[in-house]
Symmetry: C2
Subunit: 204 residues, 2 copies
Amino acid sequence: MTKPAGRPPRSEEDVTKFRTKVSKGAMALYREQGFEAVSMRRLSKTIGCAPTTLYAHFSGKTEILMLLWSDILSEMAAHIELSLRPITHPVDKLQTAAVIFVTYWIDHPDHFRLVFMSTDVGRSDVDGFLQNTDALQHFRVFDDLISDLDQTNSPLRVQADTLIASLIGLAMCLNTLHGYKWSVMSEMVNQLLTGFINDPEQQH
Amino acid sequence: MTKPAGRPPRSEEDVTKFRTKVSKGAMALYREQGFEAVSMRRLSKTIGCAPTTLYAHFSGKTEILMLLWSDILSEMAAHIELSLRPITHPVDKLQTAAVIFVTYWIDHPDHFRLVFMSTDVGRSDVDGFLQNTDALQHFRVFDDLISDLDQTNSPLRVQADTLIASLIGLAMCLNTLHGYKWSVMSEMVNQLLTGFINDPEQQH
DNA sequence: CATTTAATTGGTACGCGTTCCATAAACTAT
DNA sequence: ATAGTTTATGGAACGCGTACCAATTAAATG
């Protein structure tokens, strides 16, 4: 097992250094000039390399955009937790968090597009697995809110995942499927939450 | 108010004729060669016009892709109704329909991309309003299934819209957000349906 | 007929994501 | 040093969606 000849692969340090440079550059472009400004050509120009070089470090644009997910999602989670501060009743907290969550994506369609509509459909995406795992943990904001209800029906994990995915669906439909007269958002959220608040005494 | 001189705008008949030609051509390309084959240049070539002419009839590619929604969605609705035939119990019917719905989009990621990820985020999209309205009516497959449960809680419209949007959310998350370990789909569907089946005697 | 107005066309152009390939760079072995 | 091997880089190119524009064609009016 001797060292192979030829130029060695870039050191792990250089790899992460480049990745963070790309991440910073992409974030700057996105924050300052919006979604459309984040293009491979402009990004390569701002970080000082050829457009093709990006493809040596990332499988494509999607993987680069994933670097921005963490920022967006933590901002969203912080926004929810801030809105939750004055509220004490567990049911109210959950209901508020759900409404705020959907509202956030409707108020920030660019963020929505970035996180939910910049993915390669139907791909296992082994490359982006790590970033994914990190960023998407912010969806766990609902875990505590649900467990505070002290339900004993189905596993917490199933409940939380279902709630998150459903809320994303609401945001998605209201955001993109105009032409279908959807019901009022808050009413849909309430209807959705009936599946998570089984104790009639907790209902309002 | 006399008629102005000069060539009149194209007759409504010619307009619809061209639109159906585009629709047929786009559908042929999509069915025979997949999503990526539906490009403005190729489409214009197959229907025999200049690429720019398409922009005289449609605001952009999105509006053309909407022409395909109706086909896909009616196929989906038919698929659901077929799977529902051997089932009699109302709760079973709803549960089966929901699972089949989500499964359909996971089994056909290209269809999913076409309907749910080819839209302009955050635009009112007045142009595509009509096609939208027509095609999206296929979401109403769940109306009867819900009303057969004889619930008296919230309006049928709210219930159906919430269910559809939530199921779309499940399909979306399972389709695109790999890297987050979602719960098993059928369990999430069951969790979701608890909000629509309130009578404990109906539960299984 | 000529005129007017609208529809269509083709060409050009921009920036885009992505791929290919030739070259440069960095290392080992001789 | 030199040769050999592997990686990293960047220029050229393809097809894409879309916009602009000049030229042409079509259908009405006078």
